[in-house]
Symmetry: C3
Subunit: 406 residues, 3 copies
Amino acid sequence: MASIHAQGSQPGPAARAKCPPHSDRAGVLKQFAQSASLRGGSLSPLLTQIRDTPLLWLLSLVPVLFVAKAFKPEAHAVLFLLSVAAIVPLAALMSHATESVASKTSDAVGGLLNATLGNLTELIIALTALRAGEYVLVKASIAGAIVANTLFMLGASLLLGGLKHHVQEYNRSTARFQAGLLFVATIALLVPSLESGANAAAAGSQFTQVLSLGLAILLVISYVLGMLFSLKTHREVFASATRDHEDQTPWPIALALVTLAGVTVLIAMVSEIFVESVQHAAETFGMTAAFVGFIVVALVGAAAEMASAFAAARKNRLDLSVGIALGSASQIALFVAPVLVLLSYCIGPTPLNLQFWPAATVMMLIASLTATLVTNGGRSAWFLGVLLLDVYLIFAMTLYLMPPPV
Amino acid sequence: MASIHAQGSQPGPAARAKCPPHSDRAGVLKQFAQSASLRGGSLSPLLTQIRDTPLLWLLSLVPVLFVAKAFKPEAHAVLFLLSVAAIVPLAALMSHATESVASKTSDAVGGLLNATLGNLTELIIALTALRAGEYVLVKASIAGAIVANTLFMLGASLLLGGLKHHVQEYNRSTARFQAGLLFVATIALLVPSLESGANAAAAGSQFTQVLSLGLAILLVISYVLGMLFSLKTHREVFASATRDHEDQTPWPIALALVTLAGVTVLIAMVSEIFVESVQHAAETFGMTAAFVGFIVVALVGAAAEMASAFAAARKNRLDLSVGIALGSASQIALFVAPVLVLLSYCIGPTPLNLQFWPAATVMMLIASLTATLVTNGGRSAWFLGVLLLDVYLIFAMTLYLMPPPV
Amino acid sequence: MASIHAQGSQPGPAARAKCPPHSDRAGVLKQFAQSASLRGGSLSPLLTQIRDTPLLWLLSLVPVLFVAKAFKPEAHAVLFLLSVAAIVPLAALMSHATESVASKTSDAVGGLLNATLGNLTELIIALTALRAGEYVLVKASIAGAIVANTLFMLGASLLLGGLKHHVQEYNRSTARFQAGLLFVATIALLVPSLESGANAAAAGSQFTQVLSLGLAILLVISYVLGMLFSLKTHREVFASATRDHEDQTPWPIALALVTLAGVTVLIAMVSEIFVESVQHAAETFGMTAAFVGFIVVALVGAAAEMASAFAAARKNRLDLSVGIALGSASQIALFVAPVLVLLSYCIGPTPLNLQFWPAATVMMLIASLTATLVTNGGRSAWFLGVLLLDVYLIFAMTLYLMPPPV
């Protein structure tokens, strides 16, 4: 009943295609436009999608941003706000384009694309910051993405789902399995920080750098093994954790690829303005670079995935929400972070290491542990979401109030 | 069978009221006294209760304490021991009075009263210490209450229950849910300590104070939401975790209210002597203020709840024991601690912050994590209780041996 | 079916003894040799076992080592490698001798022997290091044994089992119970380090020493209670976690006792050469004493148990693997460590304390917590093993790269 109702309330074009006699005039028109575009590879599905999704109307801010940058390059606060607002719809568009490409390829390649490009927005922003030598911002955005996924995305999913459904049950075996992966992945990422945090006197920068490089290589190998695991040998375990496509029509492959390329370039350009303005804007708003990277960048970069996770929670499909939240956090630890370290040898002014400042280390550990313990029961109710959001709010408050790290 | 046996072994007056023909002479007499008091609101039920409960005979130490204080105000060691011994029966009496008031009101109001007044003894002692400016004692009693509830109360319940029953099973979903709440609540409370512990150089006292205030407000809001949750929207989850009333007769409302008021005043007066004498007594016994607050105050303040938890464990109702232990610990974190911070702006010499000294932080984290992991399985046997008590003993030993924090 | 197949694929002499008519010629011969040795108590079963087990061929290195020591006492690197290679087969032999003695005694005494002598190799090496005053090596081998058991032994078991079986399920109640014991045991062991780590300013060496002694006494008492628990009151919980004897023929008691005594002496002698050479060899290979103790000694000492755990995992008996890994780690914390502290008052130059250096503390905590969380689900697949091994590799890499602790 639930899924029928969900489809009924928001009938996608695919559903209509199956039952043309019942569709209304607008439906016929839309269907026609769609089939035309499917044949001609035109931009219609993209435009239709933009028209139907209020979030994507924010795309109009992208040209506004570029104009503002050209005419008012010193208005950092405005440029910062505009770039934040412009990244959100671009990330949503990229997410849809990625899924469209994935749906046209074989399952294995599609899964690979989805897994690799899932955190592409975060990766592009971090790469831009890396090239600009903004290492605090890079590390803050890695740490912040893990914390935002495990506390904010999970907490808000539990709260939103719990407000609609009394008690939500989900597959606890799968959740525990994924939480186990997340926990071990986070630990692996944190070892250099734990060591040097615990043994500061003995840790030199040479030691940290070599360890970070070795760790990055190990994590990337683990990531490749992890793909083999989740896409090949044990795909059924992760079956329910792939994103939910039923409400969305995949685009034609040519359009999807062009969109993917175009949006990637646009995100890179917007990220550049964002990274340039963030330092000044942070001063204007009284925020530290750590706060901006940890909270703002992380939430902005994960906006598209959050929308999916929240929608799934409302439909009482917490398996999906938990899978997106924990899977995305694992991916940051196992893929995004080591790739940044490896690329820093090519594009950054100096190599990036994986030594986080102590507060970030503690927060990542707590976030990962909390997610593991909370998803352990396989049951949820709204107050659990409130408590997870509490911890996130407290972290945000702490970072906002904390003097910049020395 | 178990509950029939439990009733049979200690038949309360309520049970007898249902079957007057079978009651013995004493029962008739008691029943008469009771019904008389119900009509007249006399003190009989209170006196009956005191007569039947050996623990309450310690109430006789209350006047002894006041006399001793008047004539020997410098005998700190004696005053300390007397005040400790006097608080235990007062706390038990307060607990019974609270439950009597709660049982006369609507379920929601009753639950609210029980939840709010459940840790009233701890709150009064801490407030007295706060007014006297004994901040180490206040913080130690908060930290100690969480550790005592999660390690000592839970450990002794598992041990006592396990000595009587081979393997005890309990509802693991409920236990996990409550343990999740406890873990997140403890984490929320600990964030200022974790931050400043991890980043001591960057943490100023101004920062800690503002953070503590913001945190206190957030925790109180969470506590109100938590009440809404456990008393209104999800009361069935906590159904078995409310205290067990079947063995005790509720008092008439007037008597209960008068007792509540009287006992509150007495505990406040005894606490004052306790807080005054503790510093000197600690020196006499070679104990630090941290040890006294962490171990002695916490055990004394929780004595009444421990009696309930242990009795439930012996009756193979571990759900109840686990609920009391974890629920009480959560309440300290979500209610008592923030209320103390907020009230410190009115009654203390300087505001109280939530920055605990490092050893206390580590102990609270370990205690909360241990409780979460141990209750995770839904099964218990006596050796698990031994190990929990081990950790508590080691903490106590450490605090006893440790030089006072600088 | 599974156990029938396991027996069928590798029929032990015991199985053949039941069905002599079907046994082949070699079987008859072996059976004859065996029954002869059973009557005469000769060395035949020992020699047979050595002949059939390639690992035991390494025993030939024991005399080589002694000869090398006599003629080339300054060839530290060679002596180090030879002594490492000689300890492995001796540990395997000791393990088999212990089990043979255990199988001849009553169940309770046998369990006691198995439990106490299970980590005898580790104990002998640590005692030799203790007598030589190599405290860093002693502590490193304690910490390393816990980490190697919980990360390497468990991880490799999950990986090896997972490569053969798609998803492995095991009794999650038992695993959780054992993981709970391990976690609390580790915490108990770590308290002095946590305290002094967290509160370094307040911790004096006198305080640490007294605390370590008190803790050791408490842990030994807990260990005795734990034996009572696992061998007497709750032996059925640990039933599946005892080692698997079905593939191995017990030796006659006299041979087993003589082997036990002889191997103990040999391990002690080899350990002496090992401890002497390790300092110099470490320098030659560019390793710190911490790395050698933490990684090399721990893996060497646990080799025999690892062989059992891996074999069980391949046979889809993960209960057994998890039991061996977690049980052995608990035993190090509850028995080996406190015994070393107590004996250090008799045999070491100065008493041993239980204060580990910060990195070791963090690693033990993480290892114990990871094992608890990973075994929590009762399900495993190969990638979980990869991730556990990742964490172990990262620890090893960190210790290898890290400058020696100050």
